[in-house]
């Protein structure tokens, strides 16, 4: 396939994606994780039909990096908000705890499997592999709750709480990515710094660039100049971190947070950037699918099964914690945590970031586990969320049928 043809194809996909964010008629269409686009990418990629070859994927790395960085920037800009509302501090704490429990449990279990089967040449590689899998499995996709709520017109305290948790559990995974990347500094970097300084530089760079953008946007820039500033800052964050071998996702995420916090136009900026998220996400997911490789690691099935099973168990535990803290969640029953099984955009972005930063067994394993976890989450998360919302009395039987199928009155 010609590179321009692929680019145009991605843009067409992006165009289709843009229709999924607007308009009630199509809202709730597709899967919350977007895993179907990952599957499409895999089918087109070098492991299946080979319409998108390995060389072409390599030449598209800048496009992928830009997509990942922009998504992380959008997530950062929206961090702490669920829709127009600011998320409550309690839910932010619960979300972070949930990500810590899930990611920590998965990373620990993966570490045991990796040690058992001697996957990875060095201890650092083993830590990176276990940590990467843990981080990629820790989030709940932000689209999951909205997907169910929009599709089934559910409303209530549990829906709100789960929505806020899904919107605020990205902080820890993205911090962890910065730390993990610093464990193995890029070989071409002449500087040698203590372990924690690289993540600090990543975060500092993001915050600094974001603060610069916020300062500029505070001035009365024209609309198109505002786009120039946002693109400019985001692209500098992506380019510099990629050159330094740091986490593009983390720096862009913190740049987004800084812009959101420091700019007096935060609401307008979120409204500007939010519609770009889905159009960027779908091509990124497609390229992530094309990067999937199942052949590099013979122990991959063990790692994947362990990660997914432990993630399942950890989400149940997170549900218990949630039920202990929230009356609305208590009403939904003991398995409420499984309603947060859906993972997607961020998990795949983390997987893809690992695949690009650590090409070979390590990166491929993290990406594949992220994709499989998102697929399994797709089968468990939305149905369990519907059950939880019904038990909590926030969605009745009539609403259980997708709202788009109902005949208008």
């Amino acid at each position: 396939m010609n590179a321009v043809l692929l680019l145009v194809g991605l843009l067409v996909l992006s165009y289709l994606g843009s229709f999924l964010v607007g308009g009630r008629t199509v809202r709730g269409a597709g899967l919350p994780s977007g895993v179907e686009y990952v599957a499409l990418g895999f089918v087109l990629g070098p492991q299946a039909l080979d319409l998108v070859g390995g060389d072409m994927l390599a030449s598209f790395e800048p496009v992928v990096q830009v997509a990942l960085g922009w998504l992380a920037f959008a997530v950062g800009l929206d961090f702490g908000y669920a829709g127009d509302r600011r998320a409550r501090a309690g839910n932010l704490a619960l979300a972070t705890l949930g990500a810590l429990v899930t990611g920590g449990a998965v990373a620990g279990a993966t570490w045991l499997v990796v040690r058992q089967f001697h996957v990875g040449a060095t201890v650092t590689e083993q830590i990176l592999l276990a940590g990467g899998v843990g981080v990629a499995c820790s989030e709940t996709t932000r689209h999951a709750v909205r997907w169910v709520v929009d599709r089934h017109s559910a409303r209530g305290p549990l829906a709100d709480q789960l929505n806020e948790i899904a919107h605020t559990d990205d902080l820890l995974p993205l911090l962890a990515v910065a730390v993990l990347f610093s464990l193995s500094p890029a070989t071409h970097i002449p500087m040698r710094l203590p372990l924690l300084e690289w993540p600090a530089i990543t975060i500092g760079l993001g915050l600094l660039l974001g603060a610069g953008a916020a300062l500029l946007v505070r001035c009365e820039l024209k609309l198109d100049e505002t786009w120039a500033v946002l693109f400019g800052v985001s692209l500098i964050a992506i380019g510099t971190t990629a050159r330094l071998g740091l986490s593009t996702l983390t720096a862009s995420f913190f740049a987004g947070i800084a812009v959101s916090l420091l700019s007096k136009h935060g609401k307008e900026l979120r409204a500007m950037v939010a519609p770009t998220e889905r159009p960027v996400l779908l091509p990124a997911l497609l390229l992530a699918g094309a990067h999937l490789s199942f052949h590099d690691n013979p122990k991959l099935p063990w790692i994947a099964v362990t990660a997914i099973v432990v993630r399942f168990a950890a989400k149940i535990v997170v549900g218990w914690i949630l039920a202990a803290a929230s009356p609305a969640a208590r009403k939904a029953g003991g398995l409420v945590g499984l309603s947060m099984m859906s993972s997607g955009a961020l998990a795949m972005s983390i997987g893809l970031a690992f695949a690009l930063r650590f090409p070979g067994t390590l990166g491929d394993t993290v990406l594949v586990v992220a994709a499989l976890s998102a697929t399994v989450g797709e089968f468990v998360g939305p149905p369990r969320l519907r059950i939880a919302l019904k038990r909590a009395g926030e969605m009745d039987e009539a609403q259980a049928a997708p709202s788009s199928r109902r005949v208008p009155a």
Binding site: L11, A228, G239
Partner: protein, 456 residues
């Protein structure tokens, strides 16, 4: 913040903030480029685009109080960060930005076409026809003569016999006829100017794009036997030209109709559609060897004049305005060969100056013949000085078609175009300001914010 506005001009504090941020962003990139070798060329291109966007925007704002156009700021930012000064953007990165430039040029041409109102052109047709005739003939003839007269200052022309010298001079004359649609549209986009001068300049520059292509084909046919004794006069280039022109117009018309239908029936996510058109159609046009600038211009023209969707298209493209112009002109600045300019600046200045003078004389003469209003008689020349990508593109064709003089000819063209590229936009903006065609209304910062009221 926009220098176009006469309201709420930014104060010293804002400029200090811009300067501080510019230094900060430059310092960051300076440190990274010096401290860490680039192992992934493609990835640094990302940072380069980001930096050019920010540096161009900030530099243009800093130069605002001097009355300089934004384009000049973009160019200066590109030159400063380019491979010959700060080296924040290296040569490889500049080359890898060419697809982005192609896209920018496509959007610029589309805007140009969409801004051309058939009614306005009809009203100004007498003036345009005279100007086109006089400018083309006078510039071609007098620049050719100037080039021959100045041959002792031009290293590669000094020892040429008369016939080849005349051939090279004629090629130079044809090159001098080219204008810069991008610079014209960039200035009009910034100033939001409207009036006879803005309308005339836009129409002249866009139409002259077609005229130049025809003129160059004629000049090529005449010059070939002069530069290559083995060659004979041939109409082959006209056949190719006919194919190119008709193909471009046909494809542009089709594209325009499709865009108009889309705007009428769907009218959503136009930015993505424009990106698909920019990348996809440019590749197809390149493969078919059609003139992409002309194709996109015709498409825009069709949307504007054959449908009621023109204003929508212009609105969509305006939203990308700053990004497109910054990337295009900052990259042009970074691509500027400063060592070459340092070497050739006296002769480049001589040739650029004489071209500007001839353009001025031609404009006065054409204005008098056509009975143009005073504002056009006085200022019409100012928008015709800029040269940029089109002239450079033609110099590449000349270098390819006439290898014996090609490299040296192109080097001189790059140096001369650099002078015109820097001076032209300043002159045009000055003329628009003086003729009071610059809009005093500032664009709103965000869609939710209304534009500030008109003074008085």
């Amino acid at each position: 913040m926009s220098s176009a506005g006469s309201v709420a001009r930014p104060g010293l504090g804002t400029h200090a903030k811009h300067a501080m941020l510019l230094v900060g962003f430059s310092g960051l990139l300076f440190f990274v480029t010096r401290a860490v070798p680039d192992m992934h060329g493609g990835l640094w291109t990302i940072a380069a685009i980001g930096f050019l966007l920010l540096a161009g925007t900030l530099t243009s704002e800093l130069l605002g109080p001097l009355g300089l156009p934004h384009l000049t700021g973009y160019l200066i930012a590109g030159i400063a960060s380019g491979p010959f000064l700060l080296r924040l953007v290296d040569e490889h990165t500049v080359k890898s930005l060419s697809p982005i430039n192609t896209l920018a040029l496509s959007l610029i041409a589309l805007t140009g076409g969409a801004e051309l109102d058939l009614g306005a052109i009809r009203r100004a047709s007498r003036g345009l026809a005279w100007a086109m005739l006089v400018q083309c003939l006078l510039v071609l003839v007098l620049v050719t003569i100037t080039f021959m007269a100045a041959r002792s200052f031009i290293p590669f022309a000094r020892d040429l016999p008369l016939a080849p010298l005349f051939g090279v001079a004629l090629l130079w004359g044809a090159l001098a006829v080219t204008r810069s649609p991008a610079a014209t549209l960039g200035i009009l986009s910034q100033t939001r100017a409207s009036g006879p001068l803005a309308t005339f300049t836009l129409a002249f520059v866009m139409v002259s794009d077609v005229v130049v292509v025809i003129l160059l084909a004629a000049v090529f046919a005449c010059v070939r036997p002069l530069l290559d004794p083995a060659a004979s006069f041939s109409f082959d280039s006209f056949a190719t030209l006919g194919h190119d022109l008709f193909g471009s117009v046909a494809l542009g018309t089709t594209m325009g109709l499709i865009i108009a239908a889309y705007l009428r029936l769907v009218n959503r996510q136009m930015l993505v559609v424009l990106l698909v058109l920019g990348f996809g159609a440019s590749t197809v046009l390149d493969y078919l060897q059609f003139d992409s600038l002309l194709t996109f211009m015709v498409a825009g023209f069709i949307v504007r004049n054959m449908s009621k969707q023109g204003h929508k298209l212009v609105k969509y493209i305006e939203q990308t305005g700053t990004v497109v112009y910054v990337v295009f002109f900052a990259t042009a600045g970074a691509d500027l060969d400063l060592p070459l300019l340092r070497q050739l600046w006296p002769v480049a200045l001589l040739l650029a100056g004489s071209r500007a003078l001839i353009t001025y004389v031609g404009s006065r003469a054409a204005g008098r013949l056509a009975g143009d209003p005073p504002v056009l008689r006085r200022w019409a020349w100012s928008g015709l000085v800029s040269q940029a990508g089109l002239a450079l593109g033609l110099s590449v064709i000349v270098a390819r078609e006439f290898p014996s003089i090609g490299t040296a000819f192109r080097a001189l063209a790059i140096a001369t175009v650099a002078v015109n590229e820097m001076v032209g936009p300043i002159l045009f903006k000055l003329a628009l300001d003086r003729s009071k065609e610059t809009s005093p209304i500032r664009q709103p910062s965000f869609p939710s914010m209304p534009p500030p009221p008109m003074p008085g």
